[in-house]
């Protein structure tokens, strides 16, 4: 059971994160519960409708989105993954030497191709 003891010791380093999660959840729940308990309750049909900046709601909020949002989300995911690969590269940059730089230049070069393609095809335009 030596392994489990080690694991318990290791996980105890994460107790600040646990406290943070509990505090964040507690803040939200306590605030909502408190406002629910102390608020005056005079419900009316008008009051219970969805608040839309003062104007009357005219349709369901679940309407189809334009597909342009999907392209933006896809581009975001792709460049997000690119940046993830940069983290371990940056940490081991000195050990890898010039080879590491060339590897990363090839990697980023392909992303530049993708970026130029998206730009040329007008995927970044909002027309």
């Amino acid at each position: 059971m030596v392994g489990l003891d080690l694991l318990a010791e290791y996980l105890s380093k994460y107790s600040p994160i646990l406290i943070f999660i509990v505090l964040a959840l507690g803040f939200g729940l306590v605030t909502l519960a408190l406002s629910y308990l102390v608020q005056p309750k005079y419900p009316e049909a008008e009051k219970l409708t969805t608040y839309e900046c003062g104007s009357e709601p005219f349709s369901d909020s679940r309407m189809p989105f334009p597909i342009r949002y999907y392209v933006i989300a896809m581009l975001f995911v792709i460049f997000d993954i690119e940046v993830i690969f940069l983290y371990p590269w940056a940490i081991t940059f000195y050990d890898l030497g010039i080879i590491g730089l060339i590897e990363m230049l090839i990697f980023i070069g392909l992303f530049v191709v993708a970026y130029v393609y998206a730009w040329q095809k007008g995927a970044l335009e909002w027309d």
Partner: protein, 172 residues
Amino acid sequence: MASLVFFYFASIILLTASLVVIFRNPVYSALSLLVMFFHVAGLYVTLHAEFLAVVQIMVYAGAILVLYLFVVMLLNVKREERFHGQTNVAMGLGAIMLVESFLLMLQGDTSWLSLEATPNPETMAKGNVESLGEVLYSTYLFPFELASLILLVAMVGAVILSKKGILESKSS
């Protein structure tokens, strides 16, 4: 205490993963998937894979889930009823698979049962990200470069699928 942590994460993962297919409102399914992603990240932490845990939250919970929600909103699916007639068949097949995997686990080599989840002390001495970087940019160089090519293909596919008039202008 450590196994308690594991069983907490594992049970929440199982519960939320089941809820993804049980919920009839796809937005609820997506949010249930979000809870699952966070607990998978917790499981990675118990395996000493901190970098993977952070990537799990950043990429899956941050980016992939947004993509899923966009798809749900693009298709404007309010309630999914089409696939709920399959429940009985799916439960029967799932039960058979469960029995089969139990039999395989117990009849086969059971030496793994006494193994402990302890990482290599050599990699423990260095940072998690550092040891990952060392193998990723030397031993696994080719898969790493291949990843950028796959992402390029994904980007081209997304642009072609969503942008109007790309294929028409080429043929004309």
